[in-house]
Symmetry: C2
Subunit: 385 residues, 2 copies
């Protein structure tokens, strides 16, 4: 096997989850997924499609109707975006992998802002690129910040691609429009591609219902070196459907169609029909998801803040509380101990790069917010042991 | 964009299909897919899963129940194969891409036997490998043969991987057990990995019902440098489900799990439940598919053989008739003319590599074999023009 593949880091989250195997009493908040199934109407659309016998291959780039609906959805959020810029993929992770295949040659330099979902570091490594990281840093309150000066220093003309995930998994850090402008200006000057993973954009807890985090699409031109990856997973409770999409410079779409052919051929038609129904019901699904998650966040974070010495802030976006416990510097060890000794399943921050060492990620997407408080109770009892 | 991606060949099949856009009168046999939807019982299993709300992430390597059922299915066909050697993927194409990511470093040399499904050439190119081809050659009757001497010359210690697709798309060529032994022996000596795309193994037209083409799994040891790619698409009429699997050396499975995480995360649970039902009903589905396709082949090929000068043989496997028309050396041009002038949709042989130039591929997987004869009638009338 390739040495780069052998050395790809095993998921530290799974390592912790494995420590909890066969313990049905564990309250698990380790995975980035709501415990609520996909809305019934969306499931019905897929069932109707399967009943109609829509079990054949489809267009590489997605059903034309779905591409148009996605273009209309993106246009509503970010200004005019045509279907010729949309490619439907088998999940957000496949969208990101295919975008990297299109842009990253072996030996290329890729810069990734961390802590981050480990897939965004592994993908360029699989393609033979060299990955450099720029670390966010927490302030005293536990709010994570980007050092723009450090980012500008790290991204130069030799940098093929800058990868950003904001709202961020695991920290909840969200880019401001001003920061996006500064990054776009810099990358235009260096000729660097921006790959923006914006799958959490609708899990943004602003003042108004139905809000959306700032997006690079709000400020970029269609022909900018910008690719934005999206997913139905978070905003529509559709993790298991493996359905995502890319927003592309129009000149890139045909090549992405080829890459979809060579990676997965196409997304299942019935899953695409589910996506189409989800978009048609977006106004009833997504604001409800968002409001519920805000309630979850506002249940969990204040309860965590009452734990003496615990460092955490209510993040503006995402579905995670990222926090630090005093006197527990090794996150992997702490997370494993919490599983075994407290029955509490969290993800260790070191799973998201060195910058996350010592921190723990708590996914607060819970149908029943009481579960979150029960989890905090377990944490408190464990700390008091 | 990467130059290697820009230069990936556009699908010549799609180029022909595009020439037929908006012509509902075209009889299309260009894609490698039956026109029969997935069996009802299989679709019911997926519907039940969706109704139960199985819309969450699943294990990277697939549901344990499905891995066990696949291991039992493979064991029945090829001798003992345990679930620890099975990885469930999002389609056969994803299985192949992930296997290549595990094994092929940028700059590596990969040898592919052609004519072949173009994806098998594009995938190593995407990963930065150098691709060499070994061409099958047709005899006077239109039967395709492998030149073992040429293959042994092409595969040396510097060859990282040999890619074989048999039963073959597009020619129907099928490896004999003897040839497989010779290839395995040679690759053991050179240290070359064999990636065998055996998705058509059950579309094999031997004497007995339910037969199976010879497989490298019949003769290899578990720890041989052999990876076999499979799919539910052909044997179970499940193209649109995007469900496949790999049979791996046991030491490789964990790394493949990581690569699945970074490519697609997992296959949808409801699609995996459909696969599980398909395997449970294998004895009622697959032999029927096979017998029907044999009837299709034995309807189409003799009718083609009656066309003066046309060169074609009944292939032992697959679902294609691959044939040559005298006086029509440019397959792409011929296929385009056939669409426009005869209303007949075929795939040009040059889509499958230089070795296929001048040939045409006819997918005979048709619910109604009469459609095949109507197609031959159109071909004859066009030739008589």
């Amino acid at each position: 096997m390739r040495s780069v593949i052998q050395h790809l880091e095993e998921s530290r989250i799974r390592e912790v989850a494995n420590a909890g195997m066969g313990r049905p009493d564990v309250l698990a908040f380790w995975f980035g997924e709501s415990d609520e199934p996909t809305p019934e109407a969306v499931r019905r659309a897929a069932i109707a499609s399967i009943e109609r016998g829509e079990t054949f291959y489809a267009h590489n780039l997605g059903l034309p109707t779905l591409r148009e609906a996605l273009a209309a959805y993106m246009t509503e959020l970010h200004g005019a975006i045509g279907p010729e810029r949309i490619a439907v993929t088998s999940g957000g992770v496949s969208a990101l992998m295919i975008a990297m295949q299109a842009l990253v040659d072996p030996g290329d330099e890729v810069v990734v802002v961390t802590p981050v979902w480990p897939n965004l570091i592994a993908q360029p490594q699989i393609l033979g690129a060299t990955v450099h990281t720029v670390a966010l840093a927490p302030d005293a309150q536990g709010r994570w910040r980007l050092d723009l000066v450090a980012l500008r220093e790290a991204v130069g003309p030799r940098t093929r691609m800058l990868v950003l995930n904001a709202p961020n998994n695991p920290t909840g850090w969200t880019l401001t429009q001003q920061e996006q402008r500064a990054i776009l200006d810099h990358c235009r000057a260096t000729g660097t591609w921006i790959l923006a993973d914006e799958v959490y954009e609708r899990l943004f807890y602003g003042a108004e219902a139905g809000a959306c985090a700032p997006s690079f699409l709000d400020i970029a031109e269609p022909d900018d070196r910008l690719v934005v990856a999206h997913s139905f997973s978070k905003s529509f409770l559709m993790t298991g459907w493996r359905l995502g999409w890319l927003v592309l410079p129009p000149a890139m779409t045909a090549a992405i169609g080829k890459l979809i052919e060579f990676n997965t051929s196409c997304a299942s038609v019935f899953s695409q029909q589910a996506g189409l129904e989800a978009l048609a019901r977006e106004a009833e699904i997504t604001p409800r998801v968002q409001q519920h998650l805000q309630r979850c966040r506002d249940t969990l974070v204040p309860a965590l803040q009452c734990v003496p010495g615990l460092q955490v802030a209510a993040a503006p976006g995402g579905m995670y509380a990222f926090f630090r416990l005093p006197g527990h510097p090794d996150a992997l060890q702490t997370a494993k101990r919490l599983v075994v000794e407290a029955g509490l399943g969290l993800a260790p921050g070191c799973a998201f790069g060195e910058a996350g060492q010592g921190w723990l990620r708590w996914c607060f997407a819970s149908r029943d917010p009481q579960r979150l408080l029960e989890g905090v109770g377990r944490l408190r009892r464990w700390l008091a042991l």
